[in-house]
Amino acid sequence: MANPKDAVKEKSMIIQKEMLAKQFNDLSKAKETGKKVCYTFVPGNLIELILSFDMLPVYPEINALQSGMRKKSGGYIKDAEKMGHSEDVCTYVKCDIGMMLNGNIGPTGEKLPEPDLLLLSYTGCFTFLKWFENLNRLYPNAEIAMLHTPYQEDGKITKEQIDYMVKQLKEEVLPKFEKVSGKKFDSARLSKLLSNSVQSEDYWVKVLQLAKIKPSPIDAYFAGVYYMGPINTAFRGSDECLEYYKELYHEIKDRAEKKLLPVTPEGEMQKERFRLVVEGPPNWTNFREFWKIFYDMGAVIVASTYTKVGGVYDLGYRQNPEEPLESLATYCMGCYTNLNLPQRVDLIEKYVKEYQADGFLINSIKSCNSFSAGQLMIMREIEQRTGVPVGFIESDLVDPRYFSYANIKNRLESYFQMLEQRKIILSQESVTV
């Protein structure tokens, strides 16, 4: 491992940092500037629409994960449980509720503004519905708009589903935006933002696909969650977002040409021993320790499903500025957790094969039925279809009570041993042949 002190901040990192700083600054001044605030969710988010109305987004899940990384989530969750929330339910919701009970202080230490609009994009997760019912009661003065995204139960997006969503956008969502923002819907502006998105999406896919190179220049999970930030949250459609992905792509391409390995918090990896595909969100409370177990063993995640919660662009979908509302509808329906189980299996199989992975690993999250229910079947299917060793660990997103370092480390070590043995066997076989 190279010395962390040698690691210089890449330009893309600086751009992202500045984008986030500006975002939180804008949020902290929203009252003074009169900017309206929209709370919404990451999967199926309508960020281009929000930006077209000059509104500022707040993502409760991002608040929760940041609380997790700042070690605040444990306390927030307990506060929500004291209020009557069960230990059994999604901890993102409880963390968010706990954070609100504690003054809704954001990651910069400043209070987040209250919402003017609650935009419930009910995409790929049933809990969102409940979460927003709760938010609606906490913020009774905010307007609330519901956008129901039908599930891709047949493994395809139908015309009827698009019609349903476009009608909801026209009749339910746009009027609420107009009312809250005091502005008329500007279709041309939305289209302009969407065409920016297309370009960012192109670069994002190119970034992800650089992990097909051996050795991979990126970790598509642990670093991937940073890379996916702008496109999956507040910035898709903006010029800065495009600049960020352009820069990121060139940096990583450059690394690939120099045959450099992924950068970790402790510097650059020196050897790629295992290439893995990972399914499921990461743990946020012990994110660094968790990542370290992998890079210490030379394991690189070459593709992950979690980075597709805001859109599976590598399957070819791009926003369509010609038909902006239809495009938003199709976008929502295409997010990873809105795919049916057979589609998820097909996608993972494709990743294992195309990214030449040595193994497939599931990090099963206690909180998240949307991801977790059915994962054991996914695991069996992938094992049968690809023959790679499969691994399974369990943790939680933001509840520190469900991260057992020793347990996870033990399991991963045995898994890596299995991968190592398979490699030896495969290499012996190829010599024999």
């Binding site: 339910v89 609330i144 909801q168």
Partner: protein, 387 residues
């Protein structure tokens, strides 16, 4: 089968026949008949009836089957219901079913639809989405389309297309069914000792495994008995049980609540059979439209139904008042996100309305009820004391 005792014992047997023998026998009499299994909570059974089918509710294994394979498919922090259903599927209990419907109630049921697709159980496996937009031109159109997909699925199996006449006939039969069930609940509200909660449960659960015609006949016979005095009144409190709409509580739990001194005067155990409140419009030219309207405007409150504008907590309190209940028992399956996420808000509404409540969690195969019985007993005593 004429006496109440005979009917009750038949219902108990049929409700927990995990081979669904009765439905399979019904199907065997005509090659164009189909069995469509559905999971909790609700599907419009009328459309299946109209296509020469029987809609059979698959409510889980309860405590009647040891789960071995199912546990290998689900992590410990996922509720019990889907693992029992996978176990049934793997043990061939569901052979003979032509298709399966998975209503949009939670992500577990949603993903289970994919597991059935991957393992190719039945000739079709369909996730049945509930519209969460209640405008007839938006959500209504969508919901109608969801029903049309099911109608096509069945047509592809048996070549029978649900006709206007067939749908109208089915609507009438299910209207009668809901009316009869509501009459049972109305009688039990006033005279809960005439039919115990467990007996009522068996009657309703058997009803989703047999034809609606048979169930209606049975309900009539039961009503003929309980319209008259039966049993003996006890000094019990009256409660509404809420939160058990999907994974069903073990019968022992229902029994324990009653034995602890609580008459259950309303509940959401077999909510699908009571989902539509009141009648669906009969004899129209567009019966699918009539079913859609009923879904949009006459659905009961439920955790899978977006409730902004008509919050569940308030509707629960109204139900408590209408049933003249003394309190609420929140009883939810462990790890049931929809029920458990709703609970704090519903409790808050109860507090605001001065309705006492307790809560507990269960698995469908829970075998020990001592603690629950004690809790319910204390609840009953405290209400009697303060009343």
């Amino acid at each position: 089968m004429n006496s109440l005792e005979e009917i009750l014992s038949w219902c108990e047997k049929t409700a927990f026949d995990l081979e669904f023998t009765h439905a399979k026998q019904w199907k065997s009499k005509d090659e164009k008949r189909v069995i469509v299994g559905y999971l909790p909570i609700y599907v419009p059974r009328e459309i299946i009836h109209a296509a020469n089918g029987i809609a059979v509710g698959i409510m889980g294994t309860g405590d009647r089957k040891q789960i071995i394979k199912g546990d290998a498919y689900y992590q410990s922090y996922i509720c019990h219901l889907p693992r029992g259903i996978i176990e049934m599927a793997l043990d061939n209990n569901l052979n003979g079913f032509d298709g399966f419907l998975f209503p949009a109630i939670c992500d577990c049921v949603r993903n289970l639809s994919g597991m059935f697709k991957l393992s190719k159980k039945g000739k079709f496996q369909r996730y049945f989405d509930y519209a969460q937009n209640f405008d007839p031109f938006i959500g209504g159109t969508f919901y109608k389309h969801e029903m049309e997909k099911v109608i096509d699925d069945i047509y592809n199996v048996n070549g029978v297309k649900a006709s206007v006449d067939g749908l109208n006939k089915a609507i009438k039969l299910y209207n009668i069914n809901r009316r009869l069930i509501e009459e049972i609940y109305d009688i039990r509200q006033k005279y809960p000792w005439r039919l115990s909660a467990v007996e009522t449960y068996h009657i309703l659960r058997a009803g989703i495994c047999i034809t609606v015609e048979e169930h209606n006949e049975m309900l009539q016979k039961i009503l003929n008995v309980i319209r008259n005095e039966r049993g003996e009144a006890m000094d019990n409190i009256r409660v509404v049980v809420s939160g058990s709409f999907c994974e069903q509580p073990p019968v022992g739990l229902i029994k324990s609540i009653e034995m602890a001194g609580c008459y259950i005067v309303d509940d959401d155990f077999m909510l699908g059979s009571r989902w539509i409140q009141g009648d669906i419009e009969e004899d129209t030219n567009d019966p699918l439209e009539a079913i859609t309207k009923a879904y949009l405007n006459q659905s009961t409150f439920a955790s899978c139904y977006y409730d902004v504008g008509n919050p569940k907590g308030k509707r629960l309190v109204e139900l408590v008042k209408r049933r003249e209940a003394d309190g609420v028992i929140f009883s939810a399956a462990s790890f049931c996100d929809p029920a458990l996420l709703d609970r704090p808000e519903m409790q808050k509404e109860c507090d605001a309305a001065g309705v006492p409540h307790i809560n507990f969690q269960y698995h469908e195969n829970t075998g020990q009820f001592k603690v629950i019985k004690e809790q319910a007993g204390t609840f009953s005593d405290s209400i009697k004391l303060w009343a």
